[in-house]
């Protein structure tokens, strides 16, 4: 009994404070959680909208739970007349310093790429970080959805699936191209299985 008394005497403040802090955190979390979740979804929607400006509505057609591979939720974009515009998903791969996460969009027949937006990256500033620049990203717009090839000099031929690498950032450029090559085939297969494309 004396031991219990000693224990309480020593630690009552800690126990009380732990309860108060826990309560405070729970309240803050309850108040802010909806907004945090909305931010996360909002960013994905903004990026998809940027890739498919004519799209009006995004619908989750294949949830991640049904996918065995490393593709996340697949979204179908529809315009205001309910016509399909294309599909979008998040592809992940290893970059130079950290993971790279891309929002990738393809057209409604999954024949041509509509481009990508970087959702997360931590590449070297001034080198690998240039994967977010327009001219690099524009190379992917309209490219066929086959296997892409990275070329390091000269002129890249978009019709022949060639992408010109960023100078000084071969690893980051390769990483982006690999994300496409690793995911597009899988996406095509999935969409076919679901009957969303022919």
């Amino acid at each position: 009994m004396r031991r219990v008394k000693h224990f309480i005497e020593q630690s009552w403040l800690l126990i009380a404070a732990a309860f108060c802090c826990g309560l405070l955190l729970a309240l803050t979390n309850a108040a802010l959680k909806p907004k945090i979740q909305k931010n996360e979804i909002g960013e994905m929607y903004d990026k998809m909208k940027g890739l498919m400006p004519q799209a009006d509505k995004f619908e989750k057609v294949i949830p991640q739970a049904e996918i065995a591979g490393n593709i996340t939720d697949v979204y179908e974009a529809k315009d205001d007349k309910q016509q399909a515009v294309g599909f979008a998903f998040v592809g992940t791969g290893s970059g130079f310093a950290d993971k790279i996460k891309l929002v990738i969009a393809v057209d409604k027949d999954c024949n041509k790429l509509l481009g990508f937006e970087v959702l997360f990256s931590n590449e070297t500033p001034g080198f690998g970080s240039r994967i977010t620049e327009d001219w690099f990203r524009q190379q992917f717009v309209g490219a066929p959805t086959g296997t892409l090839e990275l070329v390091k000099s000269g002129r890249a031929d978009k019709e022949k699936d060639q992408i010109l690498a960023l100078t000084g950032a071969t690893v980051s450029s390769t990483a982006v191209v690999n994300i496409f090559n690793n995911h597009i085939g899988e996406l095509k297969k999935l969409l076919k299985e679901k009957g969303l494309i022919k």
């Binding site: 403040l13 404070a17 732990a18 802090c21 803050t28 931010n39 500033p125 001034g126």
Partner: protein, 218 residues
């Protein structure tokens, strides 16, 4: 620990944090965020504001319970208090500045282990009354934010030719004369800039001894 018999000069307590005992330039505490988030001014300022919030709140709480603290459990209490406020700050940043939260990455949650905050709890808040603790927290956090912003301004200017994303130098990309130094926004730029700034400040302070306001870490 109890009783604040000695008169403490509030003005000096406040200015100590800003200059004489500047946590970054004089005490060399909290080096991790100092090096990591000062690539540009915006994240540095956000980090400074988060630290300000956490430091003042933890100083208030620690000061209020200073007479109840058991010496061998005090570090536990400090950490509990700090971790709670840091998590709250982190949630606010994620909710209201999602872009900034992404840029700062793990460094907002890492304020928990920022030694400025636990240092002030131990050195000042657990020994002084509420007013002194708040003044000390305010001074220290202004000093920290100020140091971070100076470092970030130098690095952002040399790395992009802009400060607070407002163009100052005419960069080569837009037909000007200034070629941005990409290295300045990388870790190497942080170390070099901090080293040079510390050297500069040491030169100006060489022959002076500082008088602490709050019974500090000296």
């Amino acid at each position: 620990m109890a009783g604040d018999v000695k008169e403490i000069n509030l003005g000096r307590t406040f200015t100590a944090g800003i200059w004489d005992q500047n946590p970054v330039f004089r005490l060399l505490l909290g080096m991790c965020p100092t090096l990591a988030v000062t690539a540009s001014v915006k994240p540095a300022l956000t980090m400074g504001l988060c630290v300000t919030f956490v430091l003042i709140c933890s100083n208030i709480v620690v000061s209020l319970m200073r007479n109840l603290l058991k010496p061998h459990l005090r570090i536990l209490m400090f950490t509990l208090t700090i971790a709670t406020f840091v998590t709250i700050a982190d949630m606010f940043v994620r909710a209201y500045a999602p872009q900034m939260s992404k840029e700062l990455g793990p460094y907002v949650p890492l304020i928990i282990v920022n030694c400025i905050i636990i240092g002030r709890a131990e050195a000042c808040a657990s020994k002084n009354n509420l007013i002194v603790s708040i003044t000390d927290g305010l001074g220290m956090s202004i000093g920290f934010t100020f140091a971070l912003c100076i470092l970030a301004s130098v690095r952002e200017l040399l790395a992009t030719g802009a400060i607070f994303e407002y163009p100052i130098l005419n960069t080569a990309g837009e037909g000007g004369w200034f070629t941005p130094w990409a290295a300045m926004s990388m870790p190497v730029g942080a170390f070099i800039t901090l080293g040079l700034l510390l050297g500069l400040i040491n030169v100006t302070k060489k022959n002076r001894t500082s008088k602490a306001g709050c019974h500090g870490l000296r």
